[in-house]
C-alpha cells in the first residue's frame, strides 16, 4: 500500500501544475494577509483580527479540492489509468492510495498557507510594534482547524473525481454546484421553511468545518461530521463507479 501512495505522490509532484498550486497558495494567502494587515491599522493588534489572518490560510482548501479532483480525473483524461490499473488491478486500493496522497498533500498545502500567513504577518506586526498573540489558544485552535479542513477539502476532491471521471465535468460541475446549486437549494429550503437543512449541504458543511462558524448553524464538530459523511457517501459511489468502469 505504501508503494502505491508513494507512486501517487510522485504523480502529483512530477507535473508542472504542482508548482502552480504552491505558487497560487503563496500568492493568494500572501496578498490576502497583506491586504488585511495594511488596511486595518487600528485593529491589527487584537486577537480576533489575528485569528482572522489565520483564516486567510483557508485558500489552501480550495486548491486541495482542485488537486483532489484532478488527481483522479487526470488519469482518465490522459489514459494513464490503464498503466495505473495494470500495476495495481485492485481499483479500490488505487482510490484509497489517492485519498491517502490527498490527505498528505492537503496537510502540506495547509501548512504552507499557515507559513505564508506567519511570514507576512509576523515581521509586519513586529515592525509596526503591535502585540502578537501567537500564544493565544484560540489562534492555535484556528490554525489546527485550518490545517484539518484542508485535508477534508482534498478528500472531497478525490471523492468527487472518483464519481465523475471526466475532468472538465468534475471541475465545472463542482464550481456550479458550490456557487449555484447550493444557493438555489438554500432558496428552495427557505420556501419550504426548512432553512436549517442548508447547513447539511456538502460545501456548507465544509465551510463550517474550518471553525469559523459564521451564519452556519452547525457547530465545528457537527460540521466536520457532516463533511465526513458526504465524503464517505461520494467515496462509496466513486468506488462503485470505478470498479464497474471499463477502461477502453
Amino acid at each position: 500500500m505504501s508503494a502505491l501512495v508513494r507512486a501517487e505522490l510522485l504523480k502529483i509532484r512530477t507535473i508542472r501544475s504542482w508548482w502552480a498550486y504552491l505558487i497560487a497558495i503563496v500568492l493568494l494567502v500572501g496578498v490576502a494577509v497583506a491586504g488585511d494587515t495594511g488596511s486595518n491599522a487600528n485593529a491589527r493588534g487584537q486577537v480576533e483580527f489575528q485569528i482572522g489572518l489565520v483564516e486567510s490560510a483557508g485558500f489552501a482548501g480550495l486548491l486541495a479540492l482542485i488537486l483532489g479532483i484532478t488527481a483522479v480525473t487526470t488519469e482518465f483524461r490522459h489514459g494513464t489509468v490503464t498503466p495505473t490499473f495494470l500495476a495495481e488491478p485492485g481499483r479500490d486500493r488505487v482510490l484509497v492510495s489517492k485519498a491517502a496522497a490527498g490527505v498528505l498533500t492537503g496537510l502540506l498545502f495547509g501548512a504552507l498557507a499557515l507559513l505564508v500567513v506567519a511570514a507576512v504577518a509576523l515581521p509586519w506586526l513586529s515592525i509596526v510594534g503591535d502585540e502578537i498573540h501567537l500564544g493565544d489558544p484560540d489562534l492555535g485552535t484556528r490554525a489546527a482547524q485550518t490545517l484539518a479542513v484542508s485535508v477534508l477539502w482534498a478528500l472531497m476532491g478525490v471523492a468527487i473525481g472518483s464519481v465523475v471521471h471526466s475532468q472538465v465535468a468534475a471541475l465545472v460541475g463542482t464550481l456550479v454546484w458550490v456557487f449555484l446549486g447550493e444557493t438555489l437549494l438554500w432558496g428552495l429550503f427557505s420556501l419550504l421553511d426548512v432553512d436549517g437543512a442548508v447547513s447539511y449541504l456538502p460545501f456548507r458543511a465544509l465551510d463550517g468545518a474550518d471553525g469559523t462558524g459564521g451564519e452556519d448553524v452547525l457547530g465545528y464538530w457537527p460540521a466536520v461530521a457532516v463533511s465526513l459523511g458526504w465524503i464517505a457517501l461520494l467515496g462509496a459511489a466513486g468506488v462503485w463507479r470505478t470498479r464497474r468502469r471499463d477502461i477502453t
Binding site: A3, L4, R6, A7, L10, K11, T14, I15, R16, S17, T74, H78, G79, T80, T82, P83, T84, F85, L86, A87, E88, P89, G90, R244, D246, I247, T248
Partner: protein, 294 residues
C-alpha cells in the same frame, strides 16, 4: 499461458467480441490479427482485467489478471502509445510505474537504455514522436521483466526504420523465452515475427494455427492483370470471388482456369494470369471475407 474462453463483450449497440475462445502457448510469439474493429483491443483489455466481459473469461498464467501477485513482474502490456501524461517526462512516467509496482529505481534507467530513450528520458512526453512513445510503452511493459508480453498494435505510426527496430526487438524478447501476444492489422509485420496466428473477425475466432500450417493449408491466390481491371473485378465478384487490388493487378481467390474462363466469357483482355504462392495477406483476405485491412 493466455486463455480466452467464450468471451463476449457489448458496448452499447456494438457487439465487440462474441463468444471468442483461443489459447496462447508458452514461449510463442502469437500474432493477433483482425481488421480494424474486429475486437482485438477489447479482447486484450479483457485479458488484462481492464474491461469486464459480459460473458466468458480470460486468464493469463492460469488466473484472472487481478489475481496475479505483483502483476507487472508477470505480464507487461503496451496498449496505446498515448497513455502517458504529456506533461511528465518519460523517465518520471517510468518512475511512477516502478514505484507503484515496488520495482527498484535503477531498473528505470535500464529499460530506458534498452529502448534507446536514455537521451530523451528527461524530456516531457509532449515533445516525443509517436515512435518514441511506442518505445516508452515498451520500456514500461519491460519494467518488471515479465514472462508474458501483450502488445496492441505496437507498429502503429512507426516509420520503416522504427518497424524494423521493433521487429528485431520483439525477436530478441522472444529469444529470451518470453511469451508474446501481439495484435496487428499490418499482416506483413506479423508474418515476419510471429510463429502462431489467431485471426478474428467481427468478434469471432476465424482461425488459430501455426503460421506455417495456415500458409500450407491455404489455396494459392491467382494474380491477374488486365486493361479492364474494374470490369474484371465486377465479373469476378459476381462469381463469388474475393479480390484484392495490388498494383496494376488483382489477387483473386479462384483458380486461374476459372478466372480465364470468366474473362473469356465476358470478352475481357488479360495481360497476365498466374498462380501465386499464398501469402498471409491472401489467407487473411479469404478468411475475413475480403474486407480491406488498412
Amino acid at each position: 499461458m493466455i486463455e480466452v474462453d467464450g468471451l463476449s463483450k457489448r458496448f452499447g449497440k456494438t457487439q465487440a467480441v462474441a463468444g471468442l475462445s483461443f489459447r496462447v502457448e508458452a514461449g510463442t510469439i502469437t500474432g493477433f490479427l483482425g481488421p480494424n474493429g474486429a475486437g482485438k483491443s477489447t479482447t486484450l483489455r479483457s485479458v488484462l482485467g481492464l474491461v469486464h466481459p459480459d460473458a466468458g473469461s480470460a486468464t493469463v498464467l492460469g488466473v484472472p489478471y487481478h489475481e496475479l501477485d505483483r502483476p507487472l513482474h508477470r505480464v507487461g502490456a503496451v496498449l496505446e502509445a498515448s497513455e502517458v501524461h504529456p506533461g511528465r517526462s518519460g523517465r518520471n512516467h517510468l518512475r511512477v510505474q516502478a514505484a507503484a509496482a515496488g520495482i527498484d529505481g535503477a531498473r528505470v534507467d535500464e529499460v530506458l537504455k534498452l529502448v534507446e530513450l536514455t537521451a530523451a528520458g528527461k524530456r516531457r512526453v509532449k515533445g516525443y514522436s509517436l515512435g518514441m512513445r511506442q518505445r516508452l510503452g515498451l520500456a514500461t511493459a519491460l519494467l518488471g521483466d515479465p514472462e508474458v508480453l501483450v502488445l496492441d498494435e505496437p507498429a502503429n505510426g512507426l516509420d520503416p526504420a522504427g518497424i524494423r527496430w521493433l521487429r528485431d526487438f520483439l525477436r530478441t524478447l522472444a529469444g529470451e523465452g518470453r511469451t508474446i501476444l501481439v495484435s496487428s492489422h499490418v499482416l506483413a509485420e506479423v508474418a515476419q515475427t510471429a510463429d502462431h496466428v489467431v485471426i478474428i473477425h467481427r468478434g469471432r475466432l476465424v482461425q488459430q494455427a501455426a503460421i506455417a500450417d495456415v500458409l500450407a493449408g491455404a489455396q494459392g491466390g491467382t494474380v491477374v492483370r488486365s486493361p479492364e481491371l474494374e470490369r474484371l473485378q465486377g465479373v469476378l465478384a459476381a462469381a463469388g470471388a474475393n479480390t484484392l487490388s495490388g498494383g496494376d493487378g488483382l489477387v483473386v481467390s479462384l483458380p486461374p482456369e476459372r478466372v480465364g474462363e470468366l474473362a473469356a466469357a465476358n470478352g475481357i483482355v488479360l495481360h497476365e494470369l498466374r498462380v501465386e504462392q499464398a501469402t498471409l495477406e491472401e489467407v487473411f483476405l479469404e478468411l475475413t471475407g475480403g474486407e480491406t485491412t488498412q
